[in-house]
Structure formats: structure tokens, C-alpha cells
């Protein structure tokens, strides 16, 4: 083992020896995460600078210094939340509820769709087709103006339910794809062992399917967070709504939209990192 390691290292050095040192340095820097971060930052700065340049030509007056107080403000020695933080909390609440409900609804839909019950699979298929083939915005209006008044649901929960309804269709398909990609022999071994269908899913199929589902599920949850901005059209006070209200009050549209986008970016990127860590943990365990 150690032998093999040394010999590949030697081979590496042997190959590298022929290259000029500057080229070597360049190649090595290409692989470093630090260099990647710096490159990314430089690119982002360039874009920002271009935007600023454009804004300046429009005669836009930048007021970045006014932004922080809309996160937190000190009043009489106490820190109070600004609209952006309040909005962020609402968005996080919506996202958290939606993630839980979407995973549950998606799992149920996927299982129904694959069940032997004709009614179950017809119901699931009908739901998938209906929801995936109509615009989310129209669904939101339908929920807000038709279903919610009938059931007496407030706008916050209307937003959550509608988003769940929409996102769960994608999650259901991801879960189904994960489940069918588990080898058929695994079902047969579970069945032959006398496991109930429930136990087969729980102990044999899902533990193998979930790692396959994690990457696409993460993508879908990131979509969910981004799509959650749509609840601003029914005036739920999420991050996007708060941002819009802030602009109405302060006219700092450029700064506020940049900030709002940045906050969404931080949310989604941290989620990606979390899932990467989770995947790594799962991989280490098996």
C-alpha cells in the first residue's frame, strides 16, 4: 500500500520534472481551492464594477451605507430587527415548512404512484400531470382566491400549501427515480426473507435509494427556496416582499435587490455545503 503510494508519487515527480517551473506553479494553482475562490471573487467584482459603472452613467446615487440599518438597528441601546431580517425569517419559516411537507408529500405520491392500487397510482399520476402542467403563479392565484377563502386559510399557509403542492411533484419524481434505480434483486431478497413491504422499503430499499436521491433533492430544495419568492404576490411578508416595500420607502432599488439576491445566495449555497457534508458522512459510514 505504502509502496504503491510512493511509486505513484515518484512517477508524478518524474513526469513533472520535464516541465518548466512556472508552468508547474500555474498547474498546481489551478487545482487549489484558494485560487478558485480568488478567481471567483475577481469575476464577481468585475460584474459588480460593470453594474456600478452602468448605474453611474444613469446618474444613480449609491447609498450602500444605508443598507445595514435595514438588517439591524440600534434604538435606545437595544438591537431591533430591520425589515430584511424579518423578511428573511419569514422566508426561512416558509422554506422549513415546505421542505418537511414537500418531502412527506413527495414520498407519499411516489409510493402511491408505484403501488399496486390502481386508484392510488391513477390519483398520483393525475395530480402530477395537473400540477406540473399549469403555471405556479396561476396555481397560487387559484389557492389564494378560490381554495383559501373556502377553507379559511391565511395567506402565510396558503403560500406554504401552494408551494408544497407544486414542489412535491418534482420531489415525487426524484424519489421514484431513486427507488426504481435500486436493483430488482434487492426487492426479491427482501420479499424472499419474508419482510413486509413496509420493512422492505424501510430497511432495504430506501437506505440504498436515499444517497442516490440526495443530489437532485438538494437541487429541488434550492429551487423551492428560490420559488418561495413568489408568495410576495399574495403579500406574504417574506424577504422579497420586504425588499419591495423597502424600495417603495427608500428608492434604493439597486442596493436592495443586490442585497436580497445576496441573501438568497447565502441561503442556497449554505444548503449545498450542508448536503455535500451530509453525503460525505453517509459515504464514510457505508
Amino acid at each position: 500500500m505504502a509502496d504503491a503510494g510512493t511509486s505513484t508519487a515518484l512517477a508524478q515527480r518524474g513526469r513533472n520534472a520535464k516541465k518548466p517551473p512556472l508552468l508547474l506553479l500555474w498547474e498546481r494553482s489551478q487545482r487549489s481551492p484558494w485560487v478558485a475562490s480568488v478567481q471567483f471573487a475577481a469575476f464577481a467584482a468585475l460584474l459588480l464594477w460593470l453594474a456600478m459603472l452602468g448605474a453611474e452613467q444613469m446618474g444613480y446615487l449609491w447609498q450602500w451605507y444605508n443598507i445595514p440599518q435595514h438588517f439591524f438597528r440600534e434604538v435606545d441601546g437595544e438591537w431591533i430587527m430591520g425589515p430584511l431580517v424579518k423578511g428573511l425569517l419569514v422566508t426561512l419559516q416558509i422554506a422549513a415548512w415546505c421542505i418537511i411537507l414537500t418531502l412527506a408529500a413527495g414520498l407519499v405520491t411516489a409510493l402511491l404512484r408505484m403501488s399496486d392500487s390502481l386508484t392510488g397510482s391513477a390519483l398520483a399520476t393525475g395530480y402530477l400531470e395537473l400540477v406540473r402542467n399549469t403555471p405556479l403563479l396561476v396555481q397560487l392565484y387559484l389557492f389564494y382566491f378560490v381554495i383559501s377563502p373556502i377553507l379559511g386559510v391565511d395567506r402565510f399557509w396558503t403560500g406554504i400549501i401552494c408551494l408544497t403542492f407544486y414542489e412535491a411533484t418534482f420531489v415525487a419524481e426524484i424519489i421514484r427515480a431513486g427507488i426504481i434505480s435500486v436493483d430488482r434483486g434487492q426487492w426479491e431478497a427482501a420479499d424472499a426473507g419474508g419482510l413486509t413491504r413496509r420493512d422492505a422499503y424501510r430497511y432495504v430499499i430506501l437506505p440504498q435509494a436515499v444517497p442516490l436521491m440526495l443530489p437532485p433533492l438538494t437541487g429541488q430544495i434550492i429551487n423551492l427556496i428560490k420559488h418561495s419568492a413568489i408568495v410576495s404576490v399574495i403579500a406574504v411578508t417574506d424577504l422579497t416582499t420586504e425588499g419591495r416595500n423597502l424600495i417603495a420607502d427608500t428608492f434604493m432599488s439597486f442596493e436592495v435587490w443586490f442585497t436580497v439576491a445576496g441573501v438568497y445566495l447565502v441561503m442556497t449555497v449554505s444548503l449545498s455545503f450542508f448536503v455535500t457534508w451530509l453525503e460525505h458522512k453517509i459515504k464514510v459510514r457505508t
Binding site: D183, G185, Q186, E188, A189, D191, A192, G193, G194, L195, T196, D199, Y203, V204, P207, Q208, T286
Partner: protein, 250 residues
């Protein structure tokens, strides 16, 4: 008590099975008595797998009756689970659970379907892993084992359910030649202990030493049933003769 020894423990009568238009089994009749060893052979596509998979209802039959250990197989899920608890199955591709250790592979079904405690299940599992001579691999994952070891784990996994009947579907066909013997040895041991076995295999040496009864299938039919002596030395049907001449010439 005496009756249960003589009465068939597996009974197939007039069993037919269709895959859409295609008929994979044609009115198959077969009895297996307690402790009997039946070896099933026949050309590829003749319905051997389909038949033994009907016995634990991995496939459902369309016509006829199948009674296993006194329980008739119907759509009744309770009956199906009851039969599966009494019938172990070993597959050509092992079908071990890759995310579980060898030990966990062996304890899952006993704990879930037989409601054994973890300690009891572990004890039983170690006992059978010793029987198949791999107790030292208990904490490895299947991918870390050789094919022969994996198949022996699969056998141990089935035995941990303490089945009354064991089904084998070409258990050595996916193995490298040097590993076939270690698996067959385990099966011979099992046969000596009196296990009721139905084995689909083309290992004719194994068949000669172990089988009480040879069953030859072709085109979804049972063509010939005979004790190995008669079957190999004096086959009745032309199809059997042709099959045997092909397989023994290798």
C-alpha cells in the same frame, strides 16, 4: 406427525403462468416431500426459475394450485408472508444487501419477520456464519468478499430464518470455477442434515450425490421426473436424452 412426513410439503398441481401472451409454465405438477432433495434442470428459458419463484410467490401463478407447508398461495398477503418465513431462497446473483454488514444481512429478516431480539438474532447469525465457515467476515460489507463468500453468506442469511424448505436458483452460475466447490460443499452439508431442497442447477455431479429426484423441464413443461440413477443412465424422453448429451459432453 407421521402424516406430515409423508404428505408433500410442496404441492404444485396444474400450475400455469403467463407473461402477457407468452406461457412460461404449462400445467406443471410437482410434489416435494419433507426432507426430499429435488434438482431441476433444463435448457435456458424452459421455466425453471419461474417455477421455483412461484413456490415463494416471487412470481404469482395464473392457474392451478400451489400449497406450501399446508398453506395455499393466493393473493392473501398473510399467507404469502407465512410461506416466505418457512421458505429460504438463494439467488444466482446473491442479492445481498450492500448497505448492511454480513451480520446485519443475516439478522434483518429474523428480527423483522420472526421478531427475534437483536441478541438472539446475532447469536443465530454467528452460528450459521460458522456453519458456512465465514464467522470472521461478520463485520465486513458484501462488496469486500469474494463471490463464493458472498454466496455462502446468502445461504447463511436464508438459514437464519430457520426455514423448513430451501430454494436455490442456479446458486453457482455466477461464480468463478474455483469458488463453485466451496458453495456446493455447504449445500451438500445442508442436504445431509435433512433440509428439504429444490435446486435449479446444471452441476450434475452435485445432482448425482444429493438428489432424491431429478426434474427435467422444457418449454414450460415438466418432461421427466426420475431418481438420478434412472435419469442419468436410462432417460425416457428424447428431449431429456438430447439435453443430457449436450450438458454432459462439456
Amino acid at each position: 406427525m407421521n402424516e406430515s412426513v409423508t404428505a408433500p410439503v410442496i404441492e404444485l398441481s396444474g400450475v400455469s403462468k403467463f407473461f402477457d401472451q407468452f406461457q412460461a409454465l404449462r400445467e406443471v405438477d410437482m410434489d416435494v416431500r419433507l426432507g426430499e432433495k429435488v434438482v431441476v434442470c433444463g435448457p435456458s428459458g424452459s421455466g425453471k426459475s419461474t417455477m421455483i419463484r412461484c413456490i415463494n410467490r416471487l412470481e404469482s401463478h395464473d392457474q392451478g394450485r400451489i400449497v406450501v407447508d399446508g398453506i395455499e398461495l393466493t393473493h392473501d398477503m398473510g399467507n404469502i408472508l407465512a410461506v416466505r418465513r418457512e421458505v429460504g431462497m438463494v439467488f444466482q446473483q446473491f442479492n445481498l444487501f450492500p448497505h448492511l454488514t454480513v451480520l446485519e444481512n443475516c439478522t434483518l429478516a429474523p428480527m423483522r419477520a420472526r421478531k427475534l431480539s437483536r441478541e438472539e438474532a446475532n447469536r443465530v447469525a454467528m452460528e450459521y456464519l460458522e456453519r458456512v465457515q465465514i464467522p470472521d467476515q461478520a463485520n465486513k460489507y458484501p462488496a469486500q468478499l469474494s463471490g463464493g463468500q458472498q454466496q455462502r453468506v446468502a445461504i447463511a442469511r436464508s438459514l437464519c430464518m430457520k426455514p423448513r424448505i430451501m430454494l436455490f436458483d442456479e446458486p453457482t452460475s455466477a461464480l468463478d470455477p474455483e469458488m463453485i466447490k466451496e458453495v456446493l460443499d455447504v449445500m451438500v452439508e445442508l442436504a445431509k442434515e435433512g433440509m428439504t431442497m429444490v435446486v435449479v442447477t446444471h452441476e450434475m455431479g452435485f445432482a448425482k450425490t444429493v438428489a432424491d429426484k431429478m426434474v427435467f423441464m422444457d418449454h414450460g413443461e415438466i418432461v421427466e421426473v426420475a431418481p438420478p440413477q434412472t435419469f442419468f443412465n436410462d432417460p425416457q424422453s428424447d428431449r431429456t436424452k438430447q439435453f443430457l448429451s449436450q450438458i454432459l459432453s462439456h
